[in-house]
Symmetry: none
Subunit: 256 residues, 2 copies
C-alpha cells in the first residue's frame, strides 16, 4: 500500500501557508519537510525572495511541492476557501486565541470534515504573524520550546507540525513497521532446562569455589528471564555451556 | 519557573551524537534545534568540516551548545559512558534492532535512571549509520515519514526527536512514579569489554569448531544488548567466562 493509493491517510486538502518569508532557503526546506510527511500543498504570501535558487536547492527533490506552489499577495487570499485555519506562533501577542499544542492542532486539522479545505499558517522568521493575520485564525498552535530560546527555525517548525499531522493521520493505524520476523521466544519449560544446564555448568567449571550457589543462580535467573531469549539464542548459550563442560571434563580427566 | 531552576525537567545527561556529518550547516541547525527544546550536549564523531562558519551561522545564537561541543574520532568513544544508546535510522538495514517511534524512544530516554548518561545518535546525511555503529545501539528510532520520500534533513530529524524529548519531559513530571532503585546498568564501554571477553572465551573453549565466528557473535551481541545487563550481572557472567577459560587452559595444558 503506497501513499498514492491511500489518499485518505494523508489529507490532500491541508495546505501549509508561509507568510512573508525572508529566506528562500526556508521555503525549500519547508517544502522538503512537508513532503517527508506526505503533504504537498504550499502557499506563499508575499515571499521576499521568490523564485530563488535556494528554494530548489533546499527542497532536496520535493518537486511535486515546488511545482504546485501558489503565490498570493495576502493571507486573506491564501485561505479564502478554508474552513479551518490554525496559526503557528512562537508566542501569543495580545490576540486572545485558543492555544493548541502541535498534537492537538494536528488532530483538529485531521479531524475536520473530510472535504473541508484547512490551513496551517506560519509567519515571518523574525516577526511571526501580525495581529491582523492571527485574527484570521481559529486557534494558535504553539510548539513547546524552552523559555529563553523559544524560536524554532521556520522550516523546523513546519517539520514538527507536518510530523504531528502524519501521526494524526496514522492514529488508529499502527505507527510501527510490521515487527521484524523474529524467532519464537523460549517457553517456560525450555527456560527451566536452560537454568538446569547453567547450574550444572557452573558446578563443572568450579565457579562457586565453596560459596553457596543460591544467590548467583537467582541473579542469573533474573537476568536471563528479563532478557526474554528466543529459542535460537538459548541454543547458542547451551552450546557454550556444552563446550565449557567439555573443557572441564578434559581438564578433570587429566588429573589421573 | 525557568529551565534553570528546574533541572529535573530537562535531563542534562542526554547527549545528541552526530556521526560523520557532511554539511556543517546541519551541525549548526541541529544545535539550534536541540537548544529550543532545552538540550545542550552535542558530540560530533569525525565531522567532515568542523569548525566552520556555517556551524555558527545556522546555530542562530545557541552559544551554550556550540561552546560545549565535543569532537571525537569514533562512536565508541562518544558513548563509552552511556548506559542507553538509541540510533536514529531512516530504515532498518539488516541489523535486527528493536524499533521505536520517536515518542517511545523519547519516553525511554527520559525514563532511564536519572543519573544515567544516555545518547541519541544520528548518522551521515546520505548513508546514515553503519551497521557496526547500529550494533552499539540498544534500539533504533524511526521517524514515520512517507514511503518514497522518507529522508528528513538531519537537523530536522534532530528537531523532531528533541521536540518529542521535551514532550516526554513535560509529560513525565506529573504522571510517572519515581523509578525503582536498581543496580547501575553497564556502560557501552563495559559492554565492549564484555563482548571481547566473550569472543575470546568462545575461542578458548573451541566453540566455533571451524565455522565463521561472525554470525554467532552478532546474535550474542544482539541478545546481550537487549538484555541490558547491570554491572553486577556482567561481573557474574565474566566470572563464568574466566572459569570456562581456566578449564580450557587446564585441558589444553594436559595435552603435552
Amino acid at each position: 500500500m503506497t501513499e498514492k493509493t491511500s489518499p485518505s491517510l494523508t489529507r490532500s486538502n491541508i495546505r501549509f501557508v508561509l507568510v512573508r518569508t525572508s529566506h528562500p532557503g526556508n521555503i525549500g526546506a519547508a517544502a522538503r519537510a512537508m513532503r517527508t510527511m506526505g503533504y504537498a500543498r504550499l502557499v506563499l504570501v508575499a515571499p521576499l525572495h521568490y523564485p530563488h535558487d535556494d528554494v530548489i536547492a533546499l527542497a532536496a527533490g520535493a518537486d511535486d511541492v515546488l511545482e504546485n506552489i501558489v503565490v498570493v499577495p495576502d493571507l486573506a487570499t491564501a485561505i479564502a476557501d478554508c474552513r479551518l485555519v490554525l496559526g503557528c506562533t512562537a508566542r501569543q501577542r495580545g490576540v486572545p486565541l485558543p492555544e493548541l499544542s502541535p498534537r492537538d492542532g494536528a488532530e483538529r486539522l485531521h479531524q475536520a470534515p473530510p472535504d473541508d479545505e484547512v490551513a496551517l499558517v506560519f509567519g515571518n522568521e523574525r516577526s511571526g504573524l501580525e495581529n491582523e493575520e492571527l485574527m484570521r485564525c481559529h486557534a494558535a498552535v504553539h510548539i513547546p520550546s524552552v523559555p529563553g530560546f523559544s524560536s524554532l527555525n521556520l522550516a523546523q517548525a513546519v517539520q514538527v507540525l507536518a510530523y504531528e499531522l502524519r501521526l494524526a493521520a496514522l492514529h488508529g493505524v499502527s505507527l510501527l513497521p510490521p515487527p521484524l520476523k523474529s524467532d519464537p521466544l523460549a517457553t517456560a519449560a525450555e527456560m527451566e532446562y536452560f537454568f538446569g544446564h547453567l547450574a550444572q555448568t557452573l558446578i563443572d567449571i568450579d565457579f562457586h569455589k565453596g560459596r553457596a550457589a543460591t544467590t548467583i543462580e537467582r541473579r542469573l535467573r533474573r537476568f536471563f528471564q528479563r532478557a526474554e531469549p528466543e529459542q535460537r539464542e538459548l541454543r547458542i548459550l547451551r552450546g557454550i555451556f556444552d563446550d565449557a563442560q567439555r573443557m572441564a571434563r578434559l581438564a578433570g580427566s587429566k588429573k589421573e
